[in-house]
């Protein structure tokens, strides 16, 4: 596998979809979305793990494929293929040109993020993914889609900003920003400097916003609720998956020990799971319930991460096994969304969807068990893993996910009977989001009115007053009087003599 061929292949994986995004290029191709996935499939076919350096891209970034990211690539290829078919087989109306553009853009950035081998490259692809997915959410969507999109965008912009600061700290400590080198440097500098503590917390907050972990999860239910089926299907596998991958890639797991932070995260994961289950059960629409189901599964991963931070041995193991978990998460969400399509009366009751529903329920219910199996550390530390928070409590996790699964199944069957009722109010009941949003819009309104009405009025009145002062008649009259006085002969000659006298005396 010589260098040029591998370079061409790796570059074409994100490159081809990007090129096809231009309407002119793909107008003649039969199925552009599927064609775009071709290089990724070829890459999967090639067994060897290799990576290339691209010195001229940004600050010298690289692309590469290894065992772990191969799983993810497989998952994403499957998901994008399914989504493309769903997109291609429109229920009646013509495919919206702009939706395909955003579809291809998001695909390109998603594949690029998986293959990126350095911090800045990954961050670039992840940020563009955010904007691309916003386009997918909002393209030709109705008012609810636009509102969900707006909330999602706010979360993405803030997340990007926080991650940008984290990257700065990383770049300040080490010149080379590739993953392994960055991890070593950050770990070494961990003892005294608070910088790495700042770095870890910022990475966690940034990706928490992107994943939708419990206190910062508002965009997830809205997105699930408003997105069209093809886009909702990708929700689990694209934005959430890349965010989780980001956490694993950015954090120097296995090389730093932050016991109190790790414990805190584990408690956070537990509370998120309980909150997700309680609110999930209260939902009336299957799709919003899915959002809370995803939240529960991700909180599973978060507790694992917490334990990883607490014990470096577990962290190292997690680094290897995390892609597997992310893959299963992606498939679970995809299956559930496919299953929930049965609720929409518009799609036919095909056998495929029924099996998807059954698989979805199974995967959701068993996800805690599967996580434990998948992420069991192969090397030492099995005992440690057993005592860690998750393993001990996995029966309770099972309870939550099983409850959610059956609740979702019940909702699905109940809905199948009657027609699609008017969509419940946009705000998922029981969530504390509305209070926050009302406060936010109030402050926004006050801020805008301050800017648009109040300040300009004060400024203009001030300027007018100053203007009047300048034009005051008395100034002009004084100048006229002065000039006219100087006209008179008597004053002029008197001044003349005075001047002569002054010069004579002064020169004495």
């Amino acid at each position: 596998m010589n260098a040029y061929l591998s370079a061409l292949l790796l570059l074409s994986v994100p490159g081809l979809p990007l090129l096809l995004a231009f309407p002119a290029l793909r107008s003649r191709l039969p199925r552009p979305c599927h064609l775009a996935l071709l290089p990724a499939v070829i890459l999967l076919a090639v067994p060897a793990a290799f990576s290339i350096e691209v010195p001229w891209l940004l600050f010298g970034s690289g692309l590469g494929i290894d065992a772990a990211s191969r799983w993810l690539l497989a998952m994403s290829v499957v998901l994008w293929a399914v989504a493309a078919t769903l997109l291609q087989a429109p229920s009646g109306q013509a495919v919206d040109k702009r939706l395909t553009v955003f579809f291809l853009l998001t695909m390109a950035t998603h594949l690029g993020a998986i293959l990126a081998t350095d911090l800045v490259g990954f961050f670039a692809f992840a940020a563009l993914l955010g904007y691309g997915f916003y386009g997918l959410l909002v393209a030709a969507g109705d008012e609810t889609a636009r509102r969900a999109g707006r909330v999602y965008l706010v979360f993405m912009v803030v997340a990007d900003l926080v991650l940008f600061e984290a990257l700065l700290i990383a770049a300040a400590t080490t010149g080379d920003l590739h993953f392994e080198a960055a991890h070593h440097a950050l770990a070494l500098s961990q003892e005294g400097a608070p910088a790495s503590l700042w770095y870890v917390s910022m990475v966690l907050v940034g990706f928490a916003l992107k994943v939708g972990i419990w206190p910062l999860h508002f965009w997830l239910p809205l997105a699930f609720r408003a997105a069209r089926p093809a886009v909702a299907l990708l929700l689990g596998g694209v934005p959430v998956a890349i965010a989780l991958l980001g956490i694993v890639r950015f954090l120097p797991l296995g090389e730093i020990t932050l016991p109190d932070l790790g414990a805190g995260i584990q408690w956070l994961g537990l509370t998120a799971a309980i909150y997700g289950t309680v609110v999930g059960l209260m939902q009336s629409h299957p799709r919003t319930l899915l959002a809370y189901a995803t939240m529960v599964v991700t909180s599973l991963f978060i507790t694992l991460l917490g334990s990883g931070l607490e014990w470096p041995l577990l962290g190292a193991a997690l680094q290897g096994t995390a892609p597997l978990f992310i893959m299963t998460l992606g498939f679970t969400v995809a299956a559930l969304v496919a299953g929930s399509m049965l609720a929409d009366k518009v799609t036919t009751q095909s056998a495929l969807l029924v099996t998807a529903r059954r698989v979805g329920v199974l995967l959701l219910a068993l996800s805690p068990l599967m996580t434990v199996i998948l992420t069991r550390p192969s090397g030492g530390g099995e005992r440690l893993f057993a005592e860690s928070g998750l393993v001990a409590l996995w029966p309770w996790w099972m309870l939550c996910t099983v409850l959610l699964a059956f609740r979702w199944l019940y909702l699905l069957l109940r809905r199948q009977g009657e027609t699609m009722s008017a969509p419940a109010s946009m705000i998922p009941p029981g969530d504390f989001w509305p209070i926050l949003e009302r406060w936010f819009s109030q402050s926004n309104h006050w801020f805008m009115s301050m800017g648009l009405q109040l300040l300009p009025r004060w400024r203009s009145s001030g300027l007018a007053a100053a203007g009047r002062l300048l034009q005051v008649r008395v100034w002009q009259k004084a100048l006229d009087a002065g000039e006219r006085a100087l006209q008179g002969w008597s004053l002029a000659v008197a001044l003349l003599l005075l001047l002569g006298l002054a010069i004579a005396l002064l020169s004495a």
């Binding site: 002009q476 100048l479 002065g482 000039e483 100087l486 006209q487 002029a492 000659v493 001044l495 003349l496 003599l497 001047l499 002569g500 006298l501 002054a502 010069i503 004579a504 005396l505 002064l506 020169s507 004495a508």
Partner: protein, 482 residues
């Protein structure tokens, strides 16, 4: 040919030629325009010859009629007088070309003799070496200038001319009284001899006071400027150009000569007094110029303001300050002549010169507006104009000697100049409400205004040569005082 050029008495030629031209054009009124133009071309050539002679052989002293200094009248040409002769030649040539297109036949016949006569008086004044001869040339200059102002024939022109005459005579008599006192104390009127003999005494103080007062009145420094705006505004355009650019500078030149060479070194107080008057002239002239409604009055008041700049050099006193003031003087002459010619063009084209109703002059007379703006740039002191170099040198001297308040005046003066120049330029772009019938302006007049304005702007690039010229026989140390 080199030796022939070297030893012909250029000093005398420079005075005789315009005098002869005046007489001839007076005798043949029908041919006055071509004769005038020929003289206007010949005089700069003579000045160039004189310049080359001074550059080669240093200071020139020529005894008129062969008699020696104490009795006879000497002609003395050093760097300073050469610079001013050069200025007069350049501006004079421009004015001659401009007025050949401005006046119709009847007034041209009267204009040319008077103008050439004035030119001769100017050249004589810049060359004369004794104070009584300065009085005579000053008087000649005054009379011809008054006659030229009265040329316009309007009521306010005649009144302005009358006032100008009375003021000029008053100034000259004061000056003559001073000369009398100096002659009585030291027995000679020649500047060089006086410079050696003078020592402070009550008679000398009185003489200094009288002569300075007389010359300040004729230079129209701030409190005594009342006669200048009406005279310069109501005179015909070429006349107001030569009045502002040349005539006013003559009395300043005499004051400079006396101050540097004849008057005993007085303490700084007199310099500060002149500086204060100059600064107030700059501010008062600028503000009044800003308030004028008519263009020619605006330019006249701008002259009052610019004159103030030259007097700032007195309190500073270093050689750099004098060079700065003289540089400003030279670039002001070129710029002011261009401005008045532009005003003349606008007056000729629109029939009036109310600034508010300039009625898209930018479109009708683009060259004139460019000339006016370029001249404005030089009077503002923006680079690369001569005004900038002058202002730079004065600023340098002010900051070097620590008298920062003169620097402040220079900056404020520049801002005021910018204000009234761009006020006019601003109105030139927008259409006026009532549009007047348009009379065509000969191209020659527009091009002379533009050439003079360009000369003022590009003067800044020729600084080293002109300053070197000034150093020949300069009355004080020529080293860079910076």
């Amino acid at each position: 040919m080199g030796t022939a050029v070297a030893n012909t008495p250029w000093c005398v030629m420079v005075i005789l030629l315009p005098l002869a031209g005046a007489l001839v054009s007076f005798l043949w009124p029908r041919r006055s325009v071509p004769l005038g133009l020929v003289t206007a071309l010949a005089v700069p050539a003579c000045v160039a010859g004189l310049g080359w002679q001074v550059a080669e052989q240093g200071v020139q002293r020529y005894a008129v009629g062969g008699w020696g200094a104490p009795l006879g009248i000497d002609l003395y040409a050093d760097g300073l007088s050469l610079l001013l002769l050069l200025m007069t030649a350049l501006v004079g040539l421009g004015i001659s070309v401009y007025s050949s297109g401005y006046f119709e036949r009847k007034t041209a016949a009267v204009f040319w003799p008077l103008w050439l006569f004035l030119w001769a008086a100017l050249n004589a004044l810049f060359l004369s070496a004794d104070i009584f001869n300065l009085y005579v040339t000053l008087e000649l200059l005054g009379l011809s200038a008054v006659a030229l102002v009265a040329l316009a024939g309007g009521a306010d022109a005649l009144i302005a001319a009358m006032r100008y005459l009375l003021v000029s005579l008053l100034g000259s008599l004061l000056y003559l009284l001073g000369v009398a006192l100096l002659y009585h104390s030291f027995g000679s009127v020649d500047i060089a001899i006086l410079a050696q003999r003078v020592e402070p005494s009550p008679a000398v103080w009185a003489a200094v006071g009288l002569m300075s007062a007389g010359l300040l009145l004729k230079t129209a420094l701030f409190p005594l400027h009342f006669w200048l705006p009406p005279a310069h505004a109501s005179a015909p355009a070429p006349v107001s150009a030569l009045l502002s650019a040349l005539v006013v500078k003559a009395s300043f030149y005499i004051l400079l000569r006396l101050w540097l060479e004849v008057f005993p070194p007085s303490d700084a107080a007199v310099g500060q007094l002149l500086g204060v008057l100059g600064a107030s002239a700059v501010l008062w002239g600028g503000i009044q110029a800003l308030r004028q409604a008519r263009l020619k009055l605006l330019i006249a008041y701008s002259t009052v303001a610019q004159l103030g700049y030259f007097f700032l050099a007195f309190p500073l006193g270093t050689s750099i300050a004098w060079k700065g003031a003289l540089y400003l003087l030279l670039s002001h002459a070129l710029a002011k002549a261009a401005m008045f010619m532009a005003a003349g063009n606008i007056l000729r084209c629109c029939g009036h010169d109310h600034i508010v109703a300039l009625d898209r002059v930018a479109k009708r007379l683009p060259l004139t507006l460019t000339a006016f703006t370029l001249a404005g740039i030089s009077s503002m002191g923006l680079p690369p104009s001569g005004g900038f170099t002058g202002k730079w040198l004065l600023l340098d001297a002010a900051l070097y000697t620590g008298q920062w308040w003169w620097a402040l005046t220079l900056i404020l003066g520049g801002l005021l100049a910018a204000a009234y120049v761009f006020k006019v330029v601003g109105y030139a772009f927008t259409p006026a409400e009532v549009s007047h019938e348009v009379r065509v302006v000969p191209v020659r007049m527009e091009w002379t205004a533009l050439v003079l304005a360009l000369a003022a702007v590009l003067l800044g690039l020729g600084t080293p040569w002109l300053l070197a010229l000034l150093d020949i026989g300069f009355p004080f140390d020529s080293g860079y005082a910076g």
